[in-house]
């Protein structure tokens, strides 16, 4: 009776990505469906399979971020959109590594409306990586508290047994300190702060 829903269209995929209980299934679908064709582009353009996997991970993170910010307007198909991100991230990477003769055609985008998003992704790729490094230096406990509270939507009460603190106020104080610490780390570098603003707020 409890028939399992499957992803059979771009609309389904977007719906699944926006549902916390189905998000992982949607990501797995993206890997199963799009990794192979996208990886061929990388390996045919001076990249290794490891490069293809790393770029694909960036592509998926960027895509989900855009979807969650309600900035993917479906003016091009998911497939076309992912291909564009993949191609442009890889050309950018080659340029960064100095392995690519400069090509004016590197931003061969397919849909004008989506150009802006993809162009933005390229500009902000580096700040995304820098942000991940900052999160890694935040400390395991702080990372866990902030992740559970702001990403997994745990309440302060839910966090209490996870952290083993005496009462909710202690958890609240700890969360406050962690968010403040993160805010200070981000704010330390003005340039990074501005780049991050672009990345996260678009």
């Amino acid at each position: 009776m409890n028939r399992k829903q499957t992803i059979s269209s771009d609309e389904d995929l977007i719906k699944f990505l926006l549902d916390p209980l189905k998000e992982s299934e949607a990501i797995m679908f993206i890997y199963n469906t799009y990794f192979e064709p996208l990886s061929i582009f990388i390996t045919q353009n001076n990249g290794t399979m490891a490069d293809a996997q790393d770029v694909f991970q960036d592509v998926v993170v960027s895509f989900i971020h855009i979807v969650k910010k309600q900035k993917y307007r479906q003016e091009s198909s998911v497939k076309t959109f992912l291909f564009s991100i993949n191609r442009n991230i890889w050309y950018n990477e080659l340029k960064r590594k100095g392995r690519q003769e400069l090509r004016e055609t590197r931003y061969e985008l397919t849909n004008e409306q989506e150009d802006k998003n993809i162009g933005t992704i390229l500009e902000q790729q580096e700040s995304g990586h820098q942000l991940l490094k900052i999160m890694d230096t935040l400390g395991a406990i702080c990372k866990k508290i902030l992740h559970l509270f702001y990403y997994e939507n745990y309440t302060i009460r839910d966090l209490l047994p996870v952290l083993g603190y005496e009462n909710e106020q202690v958890v609240r104080n700890k969360k406050h300190k962690c968010l403040k610490k993160l805010e200070e780390m981000i704010e330390e570098n003005k340039d990074f702060y501005q780049q991050l603003k672009k990345l996260l707020n678009g």
């Binding site: 991970q57 995304g128 993160l182």
Partner: protein, 250 residues
């Protein structure tokens, strides 16, 4: 310094949606006229967004790990097929017949392999080392657990300081009472404990709790780790079949 801290507390309260409607209106009115408040809000909002971005990255990394393992296994199957196509062909008909019978049985029973089935197949009770007849060396919570009085275990578990062993028993009691969210939070706390004695137990029962709570992807991540680690206490409990069945739920 204190003034800034008070301001930050208010900003975070707003950001976390923990203000009353009246407080919210007052705060939002103040935003129009207070640039400092605006600036603090923007900075904390950015920090919150940063956590969310990091969360997406973590989630994709987790799925990528599972996908890579599945992919590696798939490649091994392909290699094996290439080297033994003839042998495989000989068994193909027999395998098809077995599968046909399997699907017929499943079809007739009207149910696919459910999360409950996987749970029942994988679950193993945690046995206290003391013999059933001797309660002398057991504390109250352990004694209640020993006698399958799980509601009593939960009541006793409300005390402040629980040992890692008591935390494990409490989590299993939650599982027995079908309270998987409480089992999850208790086991996550145990996993974070500095005492690593019960960490492998915690991982196994956390996988079960995720399964019961329909967090199949999280259960799969934990069970895959246990399945790959031959030295894990619960390695034999989590078979390749367990993983395949679990994957079919995703």
């Amino acid at each position: 310094m204190d003034e800034n801290n008070t301001l930050d507390i208010v900003v975070i309260k707003y950001l976390d949606n923990e203000m009353s409607p009246e407080e919210k209106i007052t705060f939002e009115e103040r935003l129009f006229t207070d640039p400092l408040l605006n600036s603090r809000l923007e900075r904390f909002r950015l920090a919150k967004e940063a956590v969310k971005y990091h969360g997406i990255h973590q989630q994709v990394t987790g799925v990528r790990a599972i996908w890579e393992e599945k992919n590696a296994a798939g490649k091994m199957v392909v290699t094996s097929k290439l080297t033994s196509v003839r042998t495989m062909a000989r068994y193909a008909l027999a395998a098809a017949a077995v599968l046909l019978v399997f699907f017929l049985i499943r079809g007739l029973s009207g149910s696919s392999y459910s999360a409950d089935n996987i749970y029942q197949d994988t679950y193993i009770g945690y046995q206290l080392s003391n013999p059933r007849s001797q309660n002398n060396g057991l504390n109250k919570l352990e004694a209640a657990y020993q006698q399958d009085k799980f509601q009593e275990v939960v009541s006793l578990g409300k005390q402040d300081a629980l040992s890692p062993k008591d935390q494990l028993l409490l989590a299993i009691a939650f599982l027995k009472l079908n309270d998987s969210p409480s089992a999850i939070t208790t086991l996550q706390a145990l996993e974070q404990s500095k005492d690593h004695t019960y960490q492998q137990d915690a991982a196994f029962y956390l996988g079960l709790a995720y399964l019961k709570n329909k967090n199949y992807d999280k259960a799969l991540v934990l069970f895959t780790r246990i399945n790959k680690d031959a030295s894990h206490l619960y390695h034999k409990q989590v078979t390749d079949k367990t993983l395949r069945n679990l994957e079919s739920l995703l």
